[in-house]
């Protein structure tokens, strides 16, 4: 089964270390809430703000989850310290989805997909199926591995510790205008490669309709 998605808008952010242009003070006015945001939540909120759509349903994906908080919990257990309640509540894969809902007052469908290297592909597939019953939706994939002692554990060749891509899409019966070749983006998390290829093609095209076929 093939489902065609029209890409209505997109946003992208990346950094070798930590993204410093996420504009948190504008995106999240509540200081207490802003202080508690995880890295993936900050990236997701920034991308959503760039697209300007806090209302549509969202499929959000990341391969590694909230590694800063997870590392904090594991260190506490290993050293016999008490686990931080904030770290625990922020450690689940669904954390960015929750903050998107709270900040944007989005009470609709927001779900999280995690499929390691296939995360982007799975987000595109889930989004394509959901698009059949929705006007439009956001597909977001991000990964942040900027945690303490990452250098000792990073065996995946990930040079960019933070990267995120968001697409605003809708179901269409128009013919596809782009196909993905499975291009490699060395230095980036594999979880995000298909999304990077999509935005590369969007930038090359510069204008006109952008339609991609998703095989289910």
């Amino acid at each position: 089964m093939q489902i065609n998605l029209e890409i209505l808008n997109f946003a992208h952010v990346e950094d070798l270390e930590k993204c410093t242009t996420l504009n948190e003070k504008t995106v999240v006015s509540d200081m207490m809430l802003r202080r508690r945001l995880t890295r993936n939540a900050r990236i997701a909120l920034y991308l959503t703000h760039q697209i300007g759509d806090f209302i549509s349903p969202v499929v959000i994906g990341n391969a590694y989850g909230e590694v800063v908080e997870t590392f904090d919990i594991l260190r506490s257990i290993a050293t016999g310290e008490t686990v931080s309640p904030t770290a625990f509540q922020n450690s689940v894969h669904n954390t960015p989805a929750s903050y998107l809902s709270i900040v944007g007052q989005n009470k609709g469908y927001i779900t999280t997909v995690s499929d390691l290297h296939e995360t982007s592909t799975s987000v595109l597939k889930v989004g394509a199926v959901k698009s059949l019953k929705l006007e439009k939706l956001l597909l977001i994939v991000s990964d942040s591995i900027d945690f303490e002692r990452v250098a000792e554990l990073n065996r995946c060749g990930i040079a960019l510790k933070e990267c995120g891509v968001a697409l605003q899409v809708s179901y269409t019966q128009k013919e596809p205008t782009m196909t993905l070749s499975g291009k490699s983006y060395v230095g980036y998390s594999r979880s995000i490669w298909p999304m990077l290829e999509i935005i590369e093609k969007l930038r090359e095209a510069k204008s006109g309709e952008a339609v991609i076929a998703i095989e289910i």
């Binding site: 508690r36 997870t70 919990i73 594991l74 506490s76 257990i77 008490t82 686990v83 931080s84 309640p85 770290a87 625990f88 509540q89 922020n90 450690s91 689940v92 669904n94 954390t95 989805a97 929750s98 903050y99 809902s101 709270i102 944007g104 007052q105 989005n106 009470k107 609709g108 469908y109 927001i110 779900t111």
Partner: protein, 211 residues
Amino acid sequence: MVVGADELSRSAVNGFDRLGIASHSPTRPFDMERNGINVAEGIAVLALSNQKSEACVEIMGCGVSSDAYNITHPHPQGEGAMAAMNQALEAAGLNASNIDYINAHGTGTVANDEIESASIEKLFGSKPFVVSTKAVTGHTLGACGALEAAISAMSILNNVIPPCTNLSTPVNTALNHPVDATSCEVNYVLSNAFGFGGGNASLILGKVHAD
């Protein structure tokens, strides 16, 4: 195949304990004396098919909503929970009165059980049986959605409602909490699964009748 699985870990046990919602005694969902969850592990496998059979149950509909309220605490008026349950009813083409049994999320925490029971009463009244099987299984976290869908399916296939274990003084006396396992005709079951950060899902399963 749909699989829900989670394994017991020190991070989960320590984390829930630090949030003050882990019970150190057997959990008592929907009881006035409830004091938290029992963190557990489990796995459930659901085999899906597009062929109807009386040996199977049918997925009638589901609903998904977000609380947009708090990273750990559910919406105090249960708006998200009720939205998910209403969406599931609409998707299934059913009325609240059609539901025979609600497999509640029923974690045994003060907040969830009070809000969920009030939401269920508001939408369904006193007719359906309401049970949290977490009193027996514990909270299997990432596995509980699939696990409780399997329990709901078994309820339909066997025409049995499981009992409310460890419940002596209900927080909401308007609800129909069975003390013992109850044999009766079970045609439709609604199963709730609510998550951290206000992610809510409700699933309705139905009996397949011979045409």
